[in-house]
Assembly symmetry: C2
Homo-oligomer: 366 residues x 2
């Protein structure tokens, strides 16, 4: 288990979080550079085991909301995370004891480390997805309704700020926050989903920061040893390499704020094909026309040789890739959860077909 | 001067506010029905002379934000104004002594009466436009920068709420609030622009509620006496009837959230034409191709016989109308104000040509 994040941890976390991003979640690279500059100045960030939180500890999540494509061009001012946290603290009149991670997949793996370090509080080694998803309500912290997305606080790179003190539902909080993010140039810092330590312990997907770090370290080690990196990735995640091949077609469009489309991968022999449909994240995979993997199970594409994550914006004709299927954490597979993150929630007329076995997240002490 | 608003005052205020809406601002009719139902239950609403406010009285504006066309179909829950006021009070930790009027033109003439009555505080007989304009920053309360649009609070018909505690500028507050309003179904209650009594006295366009009432009464009286109603309107507003004719062409489109377009009116002889361009409100008028009236001066269209207001959505081929030009209140004609509400602010490459004379607003005691 990680107890702190130092400079050397940033690169492996970025690789691991990239793979867990299942094609979306944004690139952790720039956030990693930002985190490094702060660690150089302030020292390592403390990581707290979720089960070391007292039941009445006050926690929330903090992260970036907006379009990942924008975040590449529009750099942050730098203090968005801590300013969002402060604004939320001011609104509720209490101070947070720790920040949890909304999504470990992609760029939002780095933001809770940045925010926690700036605010002087530890980051909890738990997230609410074990992967990436595009919307606020798609969070295991919210499925049982004991916590809610609002109140939430948002700030931008200038002096603009907004608080959503309450919403009709978590989906409504998402709708309002999304439009505020659009006003703020499609990139804002957000703090919300206020929880007690007991709620984090009950609802979180635990040790996923450690998992991302461990995964990244194993990938780097396998690259050095020139071993079969995709197999190493599958093994660390208790998943399975389901396909090797070459990208033969990419259909990509931006619609309703999401990167939507599909990718076709032909096996090296040419005999088989795998097709994946995505909305920011890879959501459903078909092998030779048959459904093979469905959301919330993870569909990860990595490069065949290096095992590096391939996100939707990096899908290119001719790239040699491996596709890894990973069973989702159990928190995403309850009936309530599937209504929010199952195939139907994304408009697919397909039932969820759980992959056998597997529990994402490192067991304590592993 | 009005000291209270009773049931009988609602109809004339609606007519006067409709004319002062200069084609936009939304129809006061539904808001008037709503106000009537509350007055029946709670009694008349108290109106306070702005100069009776103590200098340290705490005031703000309250109104509806969104698309007037939506407000016809999507009725309010009914307590939006008082809930927005309460939310803003909660945010700043102080109670308001009175509510001022953001825009006297159109539907937002009624909302500060509804909100004040529900909240148990008087409505100030001052607005910030003397007419209607589409955006928050287009307010005389904001031109000298001693007050600011944020903090502001918004609520919808359900349980959704938002607070904008601060913004880089009033224009940014508008941008963020506008997107929040879109999330809320293009109709929300908004309280903001916090001011002291001294600020209201210094920056407001005074007695415009009384003016709208007086104007409506005079129109109704002229209708009964079958006198020349457009001439009566012009006389009450210290303006001038600049054209009589028949609508011969209407070009209307919804673009970037505004009703944009133009209308052409041919004189009854057919010898002359008047063309008006609008963005929610009538902004610039040309007679035979020559600029005749420019924003912020008021361009009001009324029906030829009844002198009833014609809003942009009611422009129809064949309607017989009179066009009245009214000098804007002096608060809208300073250099700073013209940067926000002059022709260039709406994209017209035309200098403001002030109409001679005139002061909108009833003099105290008139």
């Amino acid at each position: 288990m990680l107890s702190q994040i130092t400079l050397e941890d940033i690169h492996p976390i970025g690789i691991g979080a990239g793979i867990l991003g299942t094609g979306g979640g944004g690139n952790p690279y720039l956030g990693g550079l930002h985190l490094a500059s702060i660690i150089r100045e302030m020292g390592p960030q403390r990581i707290i085991d979720p089960f070391d939180l007292t039941d009445d500890a006050l926690c929330c999540v903090v992260g970036s909301i907006g379009a990942p494509t924008v975040s590449i061009e529009k750099l942050p001012e730098g203090t968005e995370m801590s300013r969002a946290l402060s604004l939320l603290e001011e609104h509720i009149g209490r101070r947070f004891d720790a920040v949890a991670i909304a999504e470990i997949g992609g760029a939002n793996s780095m933001q809770p480390l940045i925010g926690g370090l700036q605010a002087g509080i530890p980051t909890v080694d738990s997230d609410s997805m074990g992967r990436a998803y595009p919307e606020i309500q798609m969070s295991s912290f919210l499925f049982d309704s004991s916590a809610s997305a609002a109140p939430l606080a948002m700030v931008d790179a200038a002096d603009n700020a907004a608080v959503v003190p309450g919403a009709s539902s978590d989906k409504w909080a998402e709708t309002i926050a999304r439009n505020i993010a659009v006003s703020m140039g499609a990139r804002a810092g957000l703090a919300g989903t206020i929880m007690s330590g007991a709620q984090v312990k009950a609802a979180g997907v635990h040790y996923t920061l450690s998992l991302a770090h461990h995964l990244g370290c194993q990938v780097l080690e396998a690259q050095r040893q020139k071993s079969d990196v995709p197999e190493v990735v599958a093994s660390v995640l208790d998943g399975q390499v389901i396909f090797h091949g070459k990208i033969s077609d990419v259909d990509r469009r931006v619609s309703k704020g999401f990167a939507r489309g599909g990718v076709r991968i032909d096996s090296f022999s040419g005999a088989d094909k795998l097709e994946i449909e995505f909305q920011n994240e890879f959501l459903i995979a078909f092998i030779n026309g048959e459904v093979a993997v469905t959301t919330p199970d993870l569909i990860c594409i990595v490069t065949e040789e290096e095992g590096e994550p391939v996100t939707t914006e990096l899908l290119r004709y001719g790239t040699r890739v491996a596709v890894i299927a990973v069973p989702a954490p159990p928190q995403l597979k309850t009936g309530v959860a599937l209504e929010v993150v199952g195939p139907a929630a994304f408009g697919y007329d397909v039932a969820f077909r759980p992959l056998p076995g597997g529990v994402i997240g490192l067991a304590p002490g592993r």
